[in-house]
Every structure is written in C-alpha cells, then in structure tokens.
C-alpha cells in the first residue's frame, strides 16, 4: 500500500464515517424490508384470494366487479365443503399416495443423484444429458402411451398406478446432483480413509448435508400429489383411490353443471391446511441449513 493511501485511510473522520455508515445501513435495511414486504404481498395475493373466495357466495363470486372483501362472510361454504365431498377419504388417499410416492421418489432421486455426482462410470455425461433431454418433451404426449402401459400391467384402479410412473423425476435428480456436487471432495476422501463404503457415506454424510434440498423436493412432491388431476382421473377415479383434486372438482357444482368455486375453494383450503402445517414445521430445516465450516479454505 502506498504512503498516500495509508494517509487517506488514517485521516478519515471516523466519527462522521460512523454516522454516515449508520444512515447508509439503515437506508439499505429499509430498502430490503420494503422490497421483501412488497414481494411478500405479491406472492401472498393469490393465497388471500383463495381464502376470501372461499367465504363468498356464488353470486358474489360471479359479480362483474370483484370484491376484495366478501360482502357477507359465508362460513357455510366450509360446512358444505366438509359435508358434500367425502373429504376424509380423499384426504387419506392423497396423504397415502403423497407420502409413499415421496419416500420412494426421494430414495431413487438420492441414489441416482449420488451416482451422477460422485461415481465415475463410462458414458456418465452422455447419460446425464439424455436424462435432461427427457425433460424437454411435453409430458402430455406421454399420457396415452403410459396409460396403455399401466393398463397392460393391470394397474388401473390401484395406488400403484398413481405412484410408480412418477417416481423418477429428472428435475429433482438434477437439483440434488447440483447440491451433492457442492459437498467438498475432502469429505468423501475422509470417509474413504475412515473405512466407509460409498453407500454408508451417501446416507451418513451426503444426505444429511443435502437435507434442505431434500426437504424442498419433499414439499414439491407432496404438493404434486395434492394438485395432480389428469393422470389420477384417468387411472384411478374410483371411490377407493380418488385423490383430493379429482374429488373436489366433481363435488361442487351448481345446477347448470358449473363448478361452485367458493365451496371448492373452501374445500381446497381445508385439505391444504394440514399440508401447510407440515411445511411450517419443515421450514426451519430448510432455513437451518448445515454450516460448512467443518471445511476450511
């Protein structure tokens, strides 16, 4: 550092700098909060809309000028939602499919991502590129072929048909692979020295370290079970296996056969509530993250 700069730094009025710094910091913080609150509002609006819609009467819902606060709070929508649709059964079915498919899917995603992130084998890059390639074809095109396949396996009207075809998600494999790649190589080497097999290293080290990502995947996968519509309707639209969205779409109709959205929204809010609780609970795991300071440098 030249003499000149040293002098400049020394001659700074630290007191003034402190107050300036405080102002700058406060402004920055205010800016950050303003931005976050605005974005929160933007993101929250549909949720708000879902809730208030669930409290409107059908007539109010159909009004030309949308109301931002229901003219009359119609709690009876919730009662109707609960009594008309067989919500308990729908919920259990969905929870079963959601949980089983999430667990299996996590397992497959983990071992596949591990192979791509950590193991060396011939044609790895090519295979990975091919995998990415499969994401690029619109899935709607697969529906009929897969339907025929599932049918030939005799899986129609089973939970299997709802779970198995969607166990592999290239989307999630790719996500987890990215995460695995960020785990320092030394940990793997250390585990080797410590006499660990690849398998054990995967479950004892990589999986705990990738927990935030795995929880993100869990959330997305669970929500998938909650929102899926076309495929479940096709393969298992019977009372024993029907999932929430299908059940709700069918249940609430007005006389002319149109969907009674307010009641449907109430039902959606009802079945989403437990899911929301689970997410709130998982949130801290995503946010906690795992500090990487076991690794220096």
């Amino acid at each position: 550092m030249s003499q000149q700069t040293l002098k400049v730094m020394q001659s700074r009025d630290l007191k003034r700098t402190t107050s300036k710094q405080n102002i700058g910091h406060t402004l920055g913080t205010v800016g950050i909060y303003a931005f976050l609150l605005f974005m929160a509002l933007v993101v929250l609006f549909p949720f708000y809309w879902m809730v208030i819609s669930s409290l409107k009467s059908l007539a109010e819902y159909r009004m030309s000028k949308p109301t931002f606060w229901p003219q009359t709070l119609l709690l009876s929508n919730y009662r109707d939602a609960f009594t008309t649709a067989n919500l308990g059964r729908l919920f259990l079915n969905t929870a079963y499919v959601g949980i089983v498919s999430t667990l299996l899917s996590l397992f497959i995603t983990i071992i596949t991502a591990f192979a791509f992130a950590r193991l060396d084998f011939k044609g790895k890059d090519l295979l990975f590129a091919a995998l990415l390639g499969t994401m690029m074809i619109p899935g709607e095109l697969f529906t009929i072929t897969n339907y025929i396949t599932v049918n030939s396996f005799g899986w129609t009207h089973t939970f299997t048909a709802l779970i198995v075809p969607f166990l592999v998600s290239v989307f999630y494999i790719y996500l987890l692979r990215q995460n695995f790649l960020q785990i320092p190589n030394e940990l793997y080497l250390a585990a080797k020295v410590d006499g660990t097999s690849d398998w054990k290293y995967l479950w004892k080290v990589m999986v705990p370290l990738a927990l935030p990502t795995l929880i993100s995947i869990t959330i997305l996968k669970m929500m998938g079970a909650w929102n899926s519509y076309i495929w479940p309707r096709l393969v298992a639209n019977d009372d024993m296996h029907r999932l929430v969205t299908n059940g709700l779409r069918n249940a609430f109709k007005d006389t002319s056969g149109e969907v009674n959205y307010p009641v449907q929204m109430a039902a959606v809010a009802l079945v989403s509530a437990p899911l929301f609780m689970v997410f709130i609970f998982l949130r801290k795991y995503i946010m906690a993250g795992v500090s990487r300071s076991g690794i220096k440098g």
Partner: protein, 367 residues
C-alpha cells in the same frame, strides 16, 4: 510398520482435451520408510508430495510401481481396507456431526473381528480425544471450534482406529504461527507416544526439519534428496535442495572456479580442489559468514536486523542472484552501518557450489 515405495509413478492425463500432454505428478519414487518414524515430504506446491501421500493412502492409484505396508503389497488395496489415518489440510470434519460423532465415525465402520461394542468405541474415542486434549469439546459441532481445535479433532479421528500408518496433509497450514509451533510439537509427541509410522506433507521446510526423523525433498515429481533433516541441510544434493532448506534462505551468487580458486563475482573466497575450472553457482548459508575486516568477500551493507541472540546483516553484492545478501552473525559483534563496506570470510562447510548446467552439487576439497 515400514512402508516401501517401489518405483512409484503417477501420470495424470492432460486436462486440456486438445493436447495429449500428460502431467507426470510423481516419477519413479523409490523409498523405504522405516517403522515408527516420522517422515516429512517436502517441496513447493505441485511437486507431487500430496500425490505421493494420496497414493500411500490409496485415494489415488499409482500409474506404475508398488506400495508395501510391511511385507504386504497394498497397491491394489482400496483405501477403506488399508487401515490408515489421514488428516486433511482442511480437516474435512463432517459438519453435521458433533466432535464425538466425528471421532466415532471410523470405529463404526470397522467390520468383522475388528468390530467393537458401543462402550469400547466410546472408550477409544475418549482416549483419542484425551490424547489431543479435546475431551471437553466432545459435544460441539465443528463450526463451534477454533482452527486449532478442529485440527486436533481431525487428528483424533485419524488416530482413533489405531491406524497402521498416519498420514498428514499439510496439517499445520491453516493455523496461526504460535499454534503451529505448539501443534507440531504435539504431533511429534503423539507420534512418539503411539509409535505409528507417520508421513506428513508440507511446503514449510522449517516445519519439516523441526519434527521429522527424515525428510524427502521433492521437485516436479522427482525426489531430490532423502535423509535426516540436518544431513540434508548440511549436505544438499543440488541447488534446489540448498535453496529450499533454511531460514533465512541460502545466498546464491554467480561465481566461477579458476585455477583452484573459487570466485564469488570477482572476490576469490576460497581455495579449493577437485573441481575443474568452470562457471558455477555459489550458495553460502547465512550463518556461514564471519565478519573479518580483511575478508575476501566485500558487500555493501544496507540494513541490520537485530534478532536478539543474532544479528542479521543485510547487504548487497554485485554477483548476488538475489537483490540482497543476508548474513547471520553473533550479536556480540558490533556492527556499524556507517561503514562503506562490510567484509567477510566464509566458513568452508557452509559454502556449496553447483554446476551451472544441471545445478548438481560440485563437491570440492578445501585447500
């Protein structure tokens, strides 16, 4: 457990796909590490010392050559089965596990007859922790530890399964100066206590010299010299080794041998025999200078650094390869900076000459 390296060679394929150039990381390393010794692998970064260590650990497979632990050929044995301990440069502690879990981890992986009960494991883990004096930290996460503490945890983890061989990869590089001093003593102590054959890699010659039973100096994949630290220091095989060992470093001058005399620049410093007339590089250890008003080597003083017991005189010399010449003299010698010049005689065993062609040592007789 002695470790034998036979013609160990490691060649990495070129990273650049377009060129076929290969990188020879380690070339024909032949060495027997005696049982129970502490060996320092020394060299600048990229010299192949870490690669050698990794080959001993099994994390990298040699391109050719063999490795023996005792009489067993372990070349093809995978890391998990070699029974070694390795301390990584950045410690590689599992960030999601507590100190205790980290230390227990290798024990939990033992198989067959080595398998231990939970109590045994805890006992062993506690002993290992005690050995490195971290027994009060067992329930912390690595992120809650200081660098030195993390380092000890890493050593404890490496030691806990009583490895046949302990390998340390730049174990001190992430520590501050005081801790480094303290820790290297600790490593020495632990090694002596356990008697485990230990190989450690460092680029810091002082570190290597201070605790090793033997050092191996490497450059660009080729072993330059092997020996006890003092022997290597006193009798370097080539200019590289001479330059690499010693603080302050050796002073190198352009010189020549002519008619039985060794010239440093134009100053004839020594009468020698056994070397033909030729241009040479002359290395003089800083402690090889003796103040002498009639000495043959004439330098221009620049600065005097008082180091307590010793005094370091910084001067210039027209033939010096580096800008400054540094000598260390006893503090009893009063030296006045006001002088135009400073004159030295040289201790003959502190002066080395090297061929200009290949930088190999040229041995001479003092006449």
């Amino acid at each position: 457990m002695k470790i034998v390296l036979q013609h160990l060679t490691k060649i990495f394929p070129s990273r650049n796909k377009k060129s076929d150039e290969e990188v020879v990381a380690v070339s024909d390393f032949d060495f027997e590490i005696p049982d129970g010794k502490l060996i320092g692998l020394l060299g600048p970064s990229g010299c192949g010392k870490s690669t050698t260590l990794y080959m001993i650990s099994g994390l990298q497979k040699p391109s050719s050559g063999k490795i023996f632990f005792g009489d067993d050929d372990v070349t093809e044995l995978s890391t998990e089965n070699r029974g070694i301990g390795l301390v990584f440069q950045n410690y590689a502690l599992y960030p999601h596990m507590t100190v205790k879990q980290n230390i227990l981890f290798p024990l939990q992986n033992l198989k067959g007859e080595d398998k231990m009960t939970k109590e045994q494991m805890l006992q062993r883990a506690y002993e290992a922790a005690k050995l490195v004096q971290i027994e009060q930290l067992l329930d912390r996460k690595p992120s809650e530890l200081s660098g030195g503490q993390q380092q000890r945890v890493a050593i404890a983890r490496a030691l806990v399964k009583m490895p046949r061989v302990l390998l340390l990869d730049e174990p001190l590089s992430n520590l501050d100066a005081r801790l480094r001093l303290q820790t290297r003593e600790e490593i020495r102590r632990i090694q002596k206590e356990t008697g485990i054959t230990t190989v450690f890699v460092t680029h810091d010659q002082e570190e290597a010299m201070s605790i090793s039973d033997m050092i191996v100096v490497m450059k660009a994949g080729v072993v330059q010299q092997i020996g006890q630290p003092q022997d290597v220091y006193d009798d370097p095989a080539n200019l590289f080794v001479a330059k690499f060992l010693g603080t302050p470093p050796i002073n190198v001058f352009d010189g020549h041998v002519k008619g039985g005399k060794l010239y440093v620049g134009e100053d004839a410093v020594l009468e020698i025999g056994g070397v033909a007339d030729q241009e040479v590089a002359v290395g003089i250890r800083p402690e090889g200078f003796v103040l002498d008003d009639n000495g043959p080597l004439v330098c221009k003083p620049v600065n005097v650094e008082v180091m307590g017991r010793d005094v370091s005189v910084v001067s210039t010399h027209p033939a010096s390869v580096n800008p400054l010449v540094r000598s260390i003299i006893n503090a009893d010698n009063r030296f006045d900076l006001g002088n135009e010049s400073v004159r030295y005689t040289i201790k003959p065993h502190k002066i080395f000459i090297f061929s200009k062609d290949n930088e190999e040592r040229l041995r001479f007789e003092v006449k």
